[in-house]
Symmetry: C2
Subunit: 420 residues, 2 copies
DNA sequence: CTGAAAGCGCTTACAG
DNA sequence: CTGAAAGCGCTTACAG
């Protein structure tokens, strides 16, 4: 019952340090919080064995509990305690019970570092991403770099949830954009984990190869190496379908591609497909150094403003390298009084959560973002388990999601009838 | 030079498993990736000492390098290696150089678990959040739970960046909404970390007290206990200023408060302030079980649809418990043909990154989200260092950000002149 | 300044 | 089924 609905909370006044005294006693309802068998075995959920030690905050200074304390308390050897804690079959019920009781009464939690050192498994994978650069534009509307990391955040969520199923946790780290020697940090992470998951642009391919020599490595939206596996969405199919839609359904005769980082494999692949697909239809493609948005809303807005300031005419459609860029494009166009999709059609890539809430809702290519993370973990896990990956490059299917920004009618309003 | 601009990448065809062979050799440019002194000392950045072992992926099966290998290679004791690696003052330059060279040549990375066990410091803090529930509405527009976690993601980013400055990494975990016994998972995390940071509604206060008995605990947007410190934004000041603005600047005579989780301290505090402030002005407040949005866009949309379906008249303004809720409210109103702020004024709370990009841009209370995370880490770090926290409740200042959704004119279009 | 050795808290053959 | 003991790879008094 350590449920969040327990109504034993009190709202404090701001800055107030008083608090409801009912919070203080280690009440019965919370007994299972720390004493429940962490391995899912049948621990005594009965609050009777309430931990006497936790009654006072006093044991803070005391030496932390070890497996020896538990063994002594239960009258068994540390080997037996370890076996019970690890769910081995051997200890007979009676021994098991005594151990479990002792663990519950003492509130024992095994030390992860000791377990890791002994078992040679940390049950931790490190995830590293590069923090997006703030656009060069000093624009308060776009000042928050966090907004450009929605894609990474959702992938990481997929990784974390999947890892959790196998008892693994995620050690999260980031590399600053202008950190040109991330090696030491990443080496440190390698020492703290069983495997590493690198987002795009964290390490060069050669850096990845060296890292992979020490620990299994999987990359996301990157490039496979002889020693690492890469996971990506299907850029080719996704962008081809999107461009085809713009041309066939909306008669676009000129399409600009607003790229991401010039060295991003995803962006390069998407750009190429735009060119190829348009060429098949004889449609004009606009791209180049003026059309570079660094995957950020600020970058997208900057491109639009620069173009309009220069008096450049807008193409029929702008295909953005990702949704964040489209977000900035939409904002800048609106700011200058242009209508989307009336004056120009806009599309994104990724289908991050907000894409559907924009005005107009964003037509984009939906990547299975959380699945990318899940898949990345699965592959990494198998490598940690000693398996040799069958493929070095895994591509997940994507799908065009047609909404309003490409010129398609926004979906009709459904009628909801609902009773509370 | 392990920079992402190194142009030695090749874009693959989808599903293709070939790759540019230039990726294969462990080229000189990447030498410093793993061999650089991880403690910032003067390691030989010179690529001359390129690691011969990493030339082949063959050493995969070999026993991992230990400090003994380095010591032997350098002709010193393991104690000296350790001292150099930890930046102690003692080893004289010559010894230091020999160690550093051996470390670089072998590509040695110390094992984190062994370090942690020996030094009693893992340099890891665990962060746990509760994954937001999907609204009960089976609505494809709002199906992605990730969209409701933007606030948590940004806080975590603040934590991670701040932790990084002290050499700490972040162990990220989440508790499923309907996990009623998160104890075992959280105990496991406690064993893997030096301290814990809990987001709202992860543990009951009594659960927190028990946990705090084993490891330092800081909560975010929660409730302080005798054993843990809580960090929050200034709900009182923020909501008071916001409601005052709606009343004084926009003559609102009826204001609804669309709450978050009913047991969320933040939501309860905000609701109370809405009531108190409105009462001072004699303004009518609408709230109650029909006005509960669980902090999610889906929840906000559901509330609006239910009300409109029931023929309920809209109040002058709806103050949402957070921005996510406002996002759903905006969408649902637009869906039904209502104008914001014309028909009803809408406000949020948090100022998550997308708030400024909505149409109309969302008037809200800006919390220093990343700072909340930074502060949380700082407090936790001091507790890990053995300091007794001076305050149990820390409140960070917030600020009303007036945009279009409250009825204020959207800011005038600035004129940008920019040269590429 | 440097090294031999103890010890951190677990897991797991190895005996019994 | 159970226990004594070795060992995981580091750090750090303790001597020299």
């Amino acid at each position: 019952m350590p449920d969040d609905t327990t109504p034993d909370r009190t709202v404090l006044s701001t800055g107030d340090t008083t608090f409801d005294s009912s919070l203080l006693p280690a009440d019965a309802a919370a007994t299972d919080v720390l004493t429940a068998d962490r391995f899912g075995s049948a621990a005594p959920a009965d609050p009777l064995g309430a931990d006497p030690l936790s009654q006072g905050a006093g044991r803070k200074g005391a030496a932390p509990l070890t497996i020896y304390d538990v063994a002594r308390h239960a009258g068994v050897s540390i080997a037996s305690v370890s076996r019970v804690l690890n769910g081995h079959a051997t200890p007979r019920p009676e021994t098991r019970d005594r151990v479990l009781r002792a663990v519950a009464e003492l509130g024992f939690v095994p030390d992860g570092a000791a377990r890791a050192l002994s078992s040679r498994l940390k049950e931790i994978i490190a995830v590293v991403y590069r923090r997006a650069p703030l656009g060069p534009v000093d624009d308060p509307v776009f000042e928050d770099e966090s907004e450009n990391l929605a894609f990474v955040d959702v992938i990481n969520r997929g990784v974390q949830i999947t890892a959790q199923h196998r008892g693994f946790d995620l050690l999260l780290s980031s590399v600053d954009v202008d950190d040109h020697a991330p090696g030491p940090r990443i080496a440190n992470l390698a020492g703290k984990s069983d495997g590493m998951l690198l987002h795009d642009r964290v390490l060069t391919p050669s850096g990845i190869v060296r890292l992979a020599d020490r620990v299994p490595v999987v990359t996301l939206a990157g490039t496979p190496t002889r020693a690492s596996v890469n996971i990506s969405g299907d850029n080719i199919r996704g962008m081809r379908d999107l461009i085809t839609h713009l041309i066939e359904a909306h008669d676009c005769a000129s399409i600009a591609f607003l790229s991401g980082h010039i060295d991003s494999p995803d962006s390069v692949a998407r750009a190429r497909v735009v060119r190829e697909t348009a060429a098949e239809y004889g449609v004009r493609v606009i791209t180049g150094p003026h059309w570079t948005g660094e995957y950020s809303a600020a970058g997208g807005a900057r491109v639009i403003r620069t173009l309009l300031d220069a008096g450049t005419a807008l193409p029929d459609a702008i295909a953005c390298a990702n949704d964040q860029t489209a977000l900035g494009v939409l904002y800048a166009l609106h700011e200058r009084g242009y209508q989307v999709p009336g004056d120009v059609k806009i599309t994104g890539f990724d289908d991050i959560p907000v894409a559907r809430h924009l005005m107009p809702p964003l037509t984009t290519v939906r990547q299975p973002i959380q699945d990318l993370g899940a898949m990345a973990f699965d592959v990494l896990y198998s490598m940690i388990s000693g398996e040799r990956p069958a493929e070095r490059q895994l591509v997940l299917p994507v799908q065009v999601v047609v909404r309003g920004s490409c010129g398609c009618p926004t979906e009709p309003l459904p009628s909801y009838t609902r009773t509370a």
